[in-house]
């Protein structure tokens, strides 16, 4: 690196984004006087092809060997300009960016402050650029397999796409069957397709696809490695049923001693099941599972004279000795499709969900109107002799959404439409029922949504604009206390069934997945994408992608679209068979390293280990960086007491001049 630095500086206007606040001419003039600077130019859009062409030509004609682009955040265009350098035959790591947009023009109101700051930022970038060194981008082989975590419609779709493209997929689902929430739905808005009819074939495909290994009733325990080379440990929980022998006949469940006594989670707990169960008739795989929390034999060690299920099973499939099994697989990419939970309305006690059986959630409603549900699709309120069809049904929207008082400020995006759908279904089943929807805004933004909302209103569903505040009881009627805000009339409306349009929340156990895969969360607590617009299915962990409601509330069309996007992105390393590894990794100076191991403890990626070397006849410990794992975050360097470990491109020798140029005294 003996050649003298010849720096080219390119100041971008970003249309008026930068130029309106930063005096570009002044910055150019200033930069031209900085040591080592050979060329300075400014251009309206540096990232455009003509902008990049300027850089390429100057490298060729002016023999430039360092490039500073003063424009937007490196998160936006560092990769773009590295490619520009590479195209012109220069090592891409000879690039330094000065962020004069996000860090400057966008945050300062006038050029009085912005221009001097832009100058400092450019000067700092030039100081660092002079010290840059060329780095080599390495590639390692990638596994040509993928894992999908979560077997809802998102996970199913991603798995099918990847498998259809010819790669092996491991689909890991926590519950005994794939299907997720969509399997719980009756019909789906806005088209009213029967959910099971469009879902079941895909569930069967997943089970039969030669490229998919379906692991139900399983959970990911540990993930190591990096993009292209993840090592994943999966725990297959004991079902206490040998799936090769079980033929799904159901004799066991019919004879279980606690038959119909255990709330069925699949039916949102409105239906009951046995301790050995198939969550729903179309479950895939169609194999029974023993619920270890409710089975008498497993909890009490005794079930009558012996487990009834075992007695009646014709194939001898039930095996109480079965143990959890741990398997380890290697995959090149991982898709997280763990979905959502619904808001628990007991957190809004004013609606009386905890007190009144006739106040139910939207998900419970889905099960009550579903032909496959616990009532066979008949909607009844009251028990036994009192059972009757509801005549006045009230829907309350936005329960647990758009509501700072419960910490959920976001809109759940599906409740307006599922309410319209359920209102329609009730009207269909009970034509003389009075159905009222209490809303604050109806959000019908998707394809066919507004048309569906129009149709439902004309069917005689009453929409009242006001979000109810309270539910109480007068005699045996529920009273919905609400204001009709369009006429400014406070009302106390009677209802005999109230349906709460509960919003979508991150899964209760999302923390576990975050820790396993080093994911981040947005302020709504859903998993965070790498960029809300440009990398919507990527995450901050390379090789890990998001699909479906795990990333944020969405309907089925959006879920499927995102699942296909995640599958396509996950297939990039699979189809290339190779992945680039970070070039800006940490480097150890073995001559000064004391082998104390501080760095190994602080590295968040477990990329450092101690090794023993022979140092002039002495056995000494020194740190060693696994370049495939290192992300160049620099944590090690901050911890090292002897300055022996430094990230490339961020060495002290490179960043100290940069800091000094900002005017910081050391």
């Amino acid at each position: 690196m003996s050649e003298k630095p010849r720096v080219g500086v390119y100041v971008c206007h970003c249309g008026i984004n930068i130029a309106a606040t930063v005096n570009v001419e002044e910055v150019v003039e200033f930069a031209s006087r900085l040591p080592g600077v050979t060329v300075v130019r400014n251009y309206a859009y540096m990232c455009s092809d003509p902008g990049q062409q300027l850089v390429r030509e100057d490298i060729e004609n002016e023999n430039l060997n360092r490039i500073v682009v003063a424009s937007c955040s490196p998160r936006m265009h560092e990769i773009t300009f590295r490619r520009t350098l590479q195209d012109a035959g220069l090592n891409p790591y000879y690039l330094e960016m000065a962020n004069i947009r996000e860090h400057c023009s966008w945050v300062h109101p006038d050029s009085e402050e912005a221009t001097p700051k832009a100058k400092k930022l450019v000067s700092a970038a030039v100081s660092k650029a002079r010290m840059l060194e060329p780095l080599e981008e390495k590639e390692v082989d990638s596994e040509r397999t993928a894992m999908v975590i979560g077997g809802g419609i998102a996970g199913i779709q991603s798995a099918l796409d990847i498998a259809d493209a010819g790669y092996q997929v491991y689909l890991v689902e926590k519950s005994p069957s794939v299907g997720g929430r969509m399997a719980q739905l009756d019909k789906t808005f806005p088209t009213l397709d029967c959910s099971a009819c469009i879902m079941t074939p895909k569930m069967v495909d997943v089970a039969n696809h030669p490229n998919i290994e379906l692991m139900t009733y399983s959970e990911v325990e540990e993930v190591n490695g990096f993009i292209g080379n993840f090592e994943v440990k999966v725990r297959k929980k004991a079902r206490y049923v040998d799936i090769d022998k079980c033929n799904g006949c159901g004799e066991c469940a019919d004879n279980c001693r606690v038959k119909n006594r255990i709330p069925n989670e699949f039916d949102a707990n409105v239906g009951k099941r046995s301790a050995i169960y198939l969550p729903f008739p179309q479950a895939v795989p169609a194999k029974f599972t023993v619920d270890p929390d409710h089975c008498l034999y497993l909890t009490k060690g005794k079930c009558g004279k012996g487990p009834k299920c075992q007695e009646v099973c014709g194939t001898g499939a039930i095996d109480f000795e079965q143990q959890d099994e741990e398997v380890e697989v290697k995959v090149g990419a991982i898709i997280v499709a763990t979905g959502f939970d619904t808001f628990d309305p007991s957190n809004k006690p004013e609606y009386g969900y905890q007190d009144y059986p006739n106040v139910i959630t939207g998900l419970e409603m889905e099960r009550l109107v579903a032909a496959s549900g616990p009532t066979g699709g008949e909607l009844l309120i009251g028990e036994g002799e009192n059972a009757r069809k509801p005549k006045k049904v009230a829907f309350i929207q936005c329960v647990g959404s758009r509501d700072a008082s419960v910490g959920n400020e976001y809109c759940s995006r599906v409740c307006c439409m599922y309410t319209a759908k359920q209102a329609h279904l009730i009207k269909e089943k009970i034509p003389d029922a009075e159905v009222t929807v209490y809303y604050m805004d109806v959000r019908a933004f998707g394809k066919g949504f507004e048309e569906f909302y129009d149709r439902v209103r004309r069917e005689g569903i009453r929409y009242i604009r006001g979000n109810p505040s309270e539910i109480f009881k007068k005699d045996d009627k529920l009273i919905v206390k609400v204001e009709d805000t369009l006429t400014a009339t406070p009302r106390e409306d009677e209802a005999d069934l109230v349906v709460l349009a509960v919003g979508l929340e991150p899964r209760q156990d999302a923390r576990g997945v975050i820790d396993l895969l080093r994911l981040s969360q947005t302020s709504d607590r859903f998993f965070m994408e790498a960029h809300p617009k440009l990398y919507p299915v990527d995450t901050s962990t390379d090789g890990v992608f998001l699909a479906g409601c795990a990333q944020g509330p969405k309907d089925i069309p959006d879920t499927v679209a995102q699942a296909k996007g995640a599958a396509a992105s996950a297939m990039i390393p699979l189809s290339r068979g190779k992945v680039k590894v970070e070039a800006q990794t940490a480097e150890v100076n073995e001559a000064t390293c004391r082998g104390c191991g501080f760095c190994t403890e602080v590295c968040p990626y477990s990329a450092i280990e101690l090794k023993t070397i022979n140092w002039f006849g002495h056995e000494v410990n020194v740190a060693e960086v696994n370049e495939a794992l290192c992300k160049g975050c620099g944590t090690c360097s901050a911890a090292c007491l002897s300055n022996s470990i430094q990230p490339r491109s961020f060495r002290d020798s490179q960043i100290m001049p940069q800091i000094a140029a900002l005017g910081v005294k050391s």
Partner: protein, 380 residues
């Protein structure tokens, strides 16, 4: 049009632009069944009124005085607004212009001069202690629990028993307590509700200073209204709790138990200032359940869904004109449906309004209204 700084700050302070006009505030407001108050409309109109400097005109709507300060609107608002405070700031317009009802004027004046809103002399505040050995606080000497007696409890003959029984209970439990002595004065809860923000600030300042000379681990209030006010005080360091919280703890730790029995069917009424505003729901019930022989039932509208008795928000001094039944009367009827012999409560204002209501609907022969400490006094 240029907005004045003051109006700009009203918009910001009350977060008027945060409102999405969902109607939960008015939907939840208990008094809409008997008055014209629509608090959402005031949130909506206050924005325009601030822009055009018309707050004083908006304040002419007499229904701003119907608000009971229950804070249901604030608890239910999904956007974190406190609609009730819009009404308080409108009341402030009237108070500042001096055109208030004589009852209100007298109450405020009495707080200013005598340290209580009831027009009673300062000097008789501690008459309730007569005939009792009461530990009073000494300057600079820290106590575990410093008791703050509400003005209504201190002066109202029906309520003095609350403080008197409290002393007996504390003696029995043997805790380190003290009452405040002569210097105690009004907490300002109702002053603020009546819109006299300036006087409230003064009261706050004086009380914070007072508490700094009588250090305590915890300040214990007898009234939920004092609890709410003290909790708002800026610069008050000690933790403030309601007496039911302390008693529940003592009972739980086995430091307090009862000799007698109270074999009656009682129904507990959640005061808005204790429940909705401070989320104290379980402790009063815990205390009641510890009484031998008692049968505790619940209103349908209880806890977070409790029906306001209309005693707060300065309503002790402003009558609501309405043909409709008072909410406290509805409460009494509900209690009758439950066949309760006693409506029990933990707030002096609730006691006064419910007691009136029971008489108004003619149940006084069969139904009593009692403060929790009154029951405890019978089983000590």
């Amino acid at each position: 049009m240029k907005m004045s700084v003051e109006n700009q700050s009203i918009i910001e302070k009350l977060d008027l632009l945060g409102c999405i006009q969902c109607g939960r505030c008015t939907g939840g407001c208990p008094v809409t069944v008997r008055t014209n108050l629509n608090v959402r409309r005031f949130v909506y109109d206050a924005y325009q009124a601030s822009l055009e400097d018309l707050m004083e005109e908006l304040a002419q709507y007499s229904e701003i005085w119907d608000c009971t300060g229950c804070h249901t609107c604030a608890v239910r608002c999904p956007k974190g607004l406190k609609p009730v405070e819009v009404l308080y700031s409108l009341r402030n317009q009237i108070v500042e212009s001096g055109k208030v009802e004589p009852t209100v004027r007298d109450a405020l004046e009495s707080v200013f001069l005598e340290g209580n809103p009831w027009g009673k002399p300062k000097a008789t505040r501690f008459d309730w202690m007569e005939g009792l050995e009461v530990k009073t606080a000494e300057e600079g000497q820290e106590v575990e629990y410093l008791f703050y007696v509400c003005c209504s409890v201190a002066y109202d003959p029906k309520l003095q028993v609350v403080a008197q029984n409290m002393v007996k209970i504390l003696e029995k439990a043997g805790v380190d307590y003290a009452f405040l002595g002569e210097e105690e004065s009004c907490c300002g809860s109702e002053v603020q509700a009546l819109g006299e923000e300036e006087l409230f600030m003064e009261v706050q300042e004086e009380n914070v200073e007072l508490f700094s000379s009588y250090p305590a681990k915890k300040i214990v209030t007898l009234s939920p209204h004092c609890l709410s006010a003290l909790k708002k005080y800026e610069g008050l360091e000690a933790e403030v709790i309601h007496y039911t919280q302390l008693l529940a703890e003592l009972i739980d730790e086995g430091k307090l138990s009862w000799e007698g029995e109270f074999p009656k069917k009682v129904v507990y009424h959640d005061p808005c200032y204790l429940g909705k505003q401070n989320e104290v729901y379980d402790e009063p019930r815990q205390v009641l359940k510890s009484v031998p022989g008692i049968e505790l039932t619940e209103f349908d509208r209880s806890r977070e869904r409790s029906l306001c008795c209309e005693g707060g928000g300065g309503k002790m001094w402003v009558e609501t004109e309405s043909q409709q039944e008072r909410l406290a009367e509805t409460r009494a009827r509900n209690a009758k449906e439950l066949e309760a012999q006693v409506i029990v409560c933990a707030c002096p204002f609730c006691i006064l309004t419910l007691d009136d209501a029971v008489k108004a609907v003619g149940y006084e022969e069969e139904m009593e209204v009692m403060e929790i400490t009154e029951i405890l006094g019978k089983v000590l």
